[in-house]
């Protein structure tokens, strides 16, 4: 994934984990919910928070802090769940991403986005579409399909399934 694909001005939703600002393509975001009770599914990795009830549907929630290797934090009034639509093996799946707080929706022109440096981001580079600059701050634009790709989620299955025979 590279910056080359970002050719036109796109709107992004930014959210915070610790002090860092991340951005998601707004087209991928369905809605933002306040934090509600999440039901943990047993024998799954910590970053899989569990499932919530989204108007009668059951939606899995991923703790973005733990997913990105950051320490977990107390829930605050700002804690929210960003409901995103990701493409998982060619199927659109609805997922929740647990974030510290949601910031704003902003336009970013392609010339303000740079490719992510290979080192120094503390994140897997293939998770990052590019680095945006806004008010002299860097924003990491996430490739949400990659973050929630089937391989990433397969970890869930490996730890969860205690294969019989």
């Amino acid at each position: 994934m590279s910056v080359a694909e970002i050719l036109e001005t796109t709107q992004y939703l930014t959210f915070k984990l610790e002090d860092e600002v991340f951005a998601l393509d707004i087209a991928k975001v369905r809605e933002v919910l306040e934090y509600t009770t999440v039901t943990k599914v047993p024998r799954t990795p910590d970053f899989m928070c569990g499932v919530i009830n989204l108007r009668g549907g059951v939606v899995p929630v991923v703790n973005m802090r733990l997913k990105f290797g950051m320490p977990d934090a107390e829930k605050t009034v700002n804690t929210c769940i960003i409901i995103v639509e990701v493409n998982l093996d060619g199927e659109t799946t609805v997922l929740g991403a647990l974030a510290d707080s949601v910031q704003e929706v902003m336009d970013l022109e392609p010339d303000r986005i740079e490719p992510a440096p290979k080192i120094g981001t503390r994140l897997r580079t293939d998770f990052i579409k590019g680095m945006g600059k806004h008010d002299n701050k860097f924003i990491m634009i996430l490739d949400i399909d990659k973050v929630f790709s089937a391989d990433e989620m397969a970890m869930v299955q490996d730890t969860g399934a205690s294969a019989l025979i």
Partner: protein, 716 residues
């Protein structure tokens, strides 16, 4: 007149109907093969063919109609006893059935695809003498001689809305013989008051044919109820036959002696209303015609009444509903149940007696609504069973084996979705029986079994489950061979100690196939794991038992429904779980003291009976410690009683099953989720799977300690 979409819709309806008819035809043919003299079955096959042909022609499936007509003609001879039912006939008719089915799936333009390879031998089957008497004798009666019929066809005004195109009917009439149709346009209103969906035109048709009056009636067989139809025989240009279905004005006038036949003959040629003509030519007074009309009207009314009575008697007790509508109904009921749970919770919280009684009423109604909705979706499994008869017949022939399929419990009802998804795995299992399990006749005779193999399908209810058994009397499974193969494939290690049941279940593992030769029927090693996955997706399970040389029994255990179940809500710490109530037998208390006294063994003494239990808190790695007195929910798992230890039992819960989605699809021991009254999510436990996991872990631990033991002994 009609837009394309409504025409397409009618075509779709025809297709659906035709599929059903073809299925029925197949059943009839297969039964006919067993009892070739059964007139009722021959009639059934004939009727199926006739309806496929008739409505095919009406909805523009000419290719199908033409092809089916040929087959129907042959069956007509059979029906008249002029042709015997032979195996060849059944074979050819079955392949004709398949051909029609193919035609249905093809785009209409390809419908002329010849079925010659079927029809030619089929025609050859027709005995010469039967052919000579004429195939035109299609519906008995006065055939052979050319007869002229006068047909008054007055379609009802809403005939277009019913998807009938009168011009197609006229075209069909033309195929019977020389035909002259005269359209009456006098009742068409002015352009600005025309309703384009109403039929204002009516027809008088003169038809000369040698096919007999029934053939003419058959053309209108589907519109009879929606139109006024009078078909009369007219022998030799004007002499009336004797058996009139409905008396005509002119005829009544003759009977009363007002006019002569000669007058009529001259009038008839002009194809207009006789009454009007007669009045115009002053042969009778309008009053007399009126009287005759009244009589005609009278007869018509009586007839109409009779028809109505017939119609009422025939009113079907079932209706056809698109399955999509049913699915959305079930979804709505599911949401309703969830909302009802919230209401119940709220009313319990408020403790208002008025609200409580309303909530109880709603709960009762919702329960009934749920049961009714679920029962609508229930279908007997028999339709699937009858499909397999054909499969067994064809396959056993192909493989040179003699196999009889017997079925039992075809009336057992299962959720529509389950039945649909069950088809493929069942086909696979039956193929396996025929290909691998049942030996060729010579080997069977050598080991003293009857040469004819047996495959028995049975279905029955067992609690909230349906058990489907596939039993064969073949060679049985070779446990040693399976074991050896599994070791070779690296599925198990030579040290693994497995029970017989576990060895058999190895054949369900991916990439496992013991057949030495790969046939085109089965044995590519992709089989059984696909079956297992399909059954797993239905939240069912597969059990295998076998006796070498005697046979194998495969049992599929399937839930009755996939949508809503009765559940028992329990909690562990802050987490809520639902156990399917159908498997729950009782709940007993487990004091911490008792558990401590059991020396770490997870066994409870329930009225003198030893029941092993699983601590869900440990199993699910839930933090914290349980209360002083915990609850053991005792469930029946495959004939055994297993306890599940939870903190407390909350109560009964109507559980609308939601899937956990792709991400959690391989989570073991959890079969889904449901939404509780307070809007949080509770997980549904897969009791059977949890037991299996616990058993397996136990066994691993035991194997580990045994190894340790043997190592120590080796040291000594």
């Amino acid at each position: 007149m009609r837009d394309m979409s409504s025409a397409d819709k009618h075509k779709e309806t025809y297709r659906e109907e035709a599929y059903e008819l073809l299925a029925d035809l197949e059943v009839a043919l297969l039964e006919l093969e067993k009892s070739p003299d059964n007139g009722e079955l021959i009639g059934r096959a004939f009727r199926d063919l006739h309806t496929i042909k008739g409505s095919g022609a009406m909805f523009g499936f000419e290719g199908i109609a033409a092809f089916t007509h040929e087959v129907e003609t042959v069956f007509d001879l059979v029906r008249d006893g002029r042709m015997p039912v032979t195996k060849d006939l059944i074979d050819l008719t079955l392949s004709a059935r398949d051909h029609i089915r193919n035609l249905l799936d093809l785009p209409e333009t390809d419908h002329n695809a010849a079925g010659g390879e079927i029809l030619t031998p089929l025609r050859k089957l027709v005995p010469r003498d039967a052919e000579e008497t004429g195939t035109g004798d299609s519906a008995s009666g006065h055939a052979g001689d050319n007869m002229t019929y006068r047909i008054q066809f007055r379609p009802g005004p809403d005939i277009f809305k019913k998807g009938i195109n009168p011009s197609l009917l006229l075209n069909e009439l033309r195929t019977l013989g020389p035909c002259r149709a005269l359209a009456y346009t006098d009742s068409i209103p002015k352009l600005n008051s025309i309703d384009p969906e109403t039929c204002y035109t009516y027809w008088d048709i003169m038809l000369t044919t040698d096919k007999g009056i029934n053939a003419v009636k058959d053309v209108f067989i589907f519109v009879e109820e929606d139109c006024k139809l009078i078909i009369e025989e007219i022998c030799d240009a004007g002499k009336f036959g004797e058996k009139f279905a409905d008396k005509k004005v002119g005829e009544i006038l003759i009977e009363r002696g007002f006019v002569t036949q000669g007058d009529l003959a001259s009038v008839l040629g002009q194809q207009r209303r006789i009454g009007e003509m007669l009045i115009e030519t002053n042969m009778v007074s309008p009053r007399k015609v009126e009287a005759a009309l009244a009589e005609q009207q009278h007869i018509r009314e009586i007839r109409q009444k009779e028809q109505q009575n017939d119609h009422q008697a025939d009113t079907p007790s079932s209706i056809r509903v698109a399955s999509g509508k049913l699915d959305s109904l079930v979804n709505l009921v599911g949401e309703m149940v969830t909302v009802q749970a919230r209401l119940s919770r709220l009313s319990a919280f408020k403790n208002d007696p008025v609200l409580l009684s309303v909530a109880e009423e709603v709960e009762r109604l919702t329960g009934e609504l749920r049961d009714q909705t679920m029962s609508i979706r229930m279908l007997p499994i028999g339709t699937t069973f009858s499909k397999f008869k054909r499969l067994v017949r064809d396959l056993s022939k192909e493989l040179g084996k003699e196999i009889e399929l017997t079925t039992e419990g075809a009336e057992t009802e299962l959720d529509k979705t389950v039945i649909e998804k069950l088809n493929d795995p069942m086909v696979h299992l039956i193929r396996n029986c025929i290909d691998h399990a049942i030996e060729p006749p010579d080997i069977r005779s050598a080991v003293g079994k009857p040469a004819q193999g047996m495959v028995h399908l049975s279905a029955r209810h067992s609690g909230a489950y349906v058990l489907i058994e596939i039993i064969d009397d073949g060679a049985g499974l070779d446990a040693d061979a399976i074991r050896a193969k599994a070791i070779e494939k690296g599925l198990i290690t030579p040290d693994d100690e497995l029970t017989e049941k576990e060895i058999y279940s190895l054949i369900l593992a991916p990439g496992f196939s013991t057949a030495k030769t790969v046939t085109n029927v089965s044995g590519r090693g992709v089989g059984m794991d696909v079956v297992k996955r399909a059954i797993d997706n239905l939240r069912g399970s597969i059990g295998i038992s076998s006796q070498k040389g005697i046979g194998t029994t495969i049992t599929l255990k399937l839930p009755l429904t996939l949508a809503i179940i009765e559940g028992l809500l329990v909690n562990i710490g802050k987490e809520y779980f639902v156990l399917p109530l159908a498997v729950v037998e009782e709940c007993v208390e487990l004091a911490r003291q008792d558990a401590a006294n059991a020396h770490g063994r997870h066994l409870a003494n329930v009225r003198g009976q030893i029941v092993p239990y699983i601590r869900l808190r440990e199993q699910f790695i839930i933090q914290g410690e349980g209360p002083e007195i915990e609850q053991i929910v005792i469930a029946g798992v495959e004939g055994h009683r297993v306890g599940f230890v939870v903190d407390s039992v909350v109560g009964e819960h109507q559980t609308v099953i939601k899937t956990l989605g792709r991400i959690y699809k391989d989570i073991d021991g959890i079969s889904g989720a449901t939404i509780l009254g307070d809007g949080t999510v509770a997980l549904i436990l897969d009791i059977q799977r949890l037991t299996e996991i616990a058993e397996h872990e136990e066994m691993k631990a035991q194997a580990g300690s045994k190894k340790l033991q043997s190592l120590k002994e080796g040291d000594n």
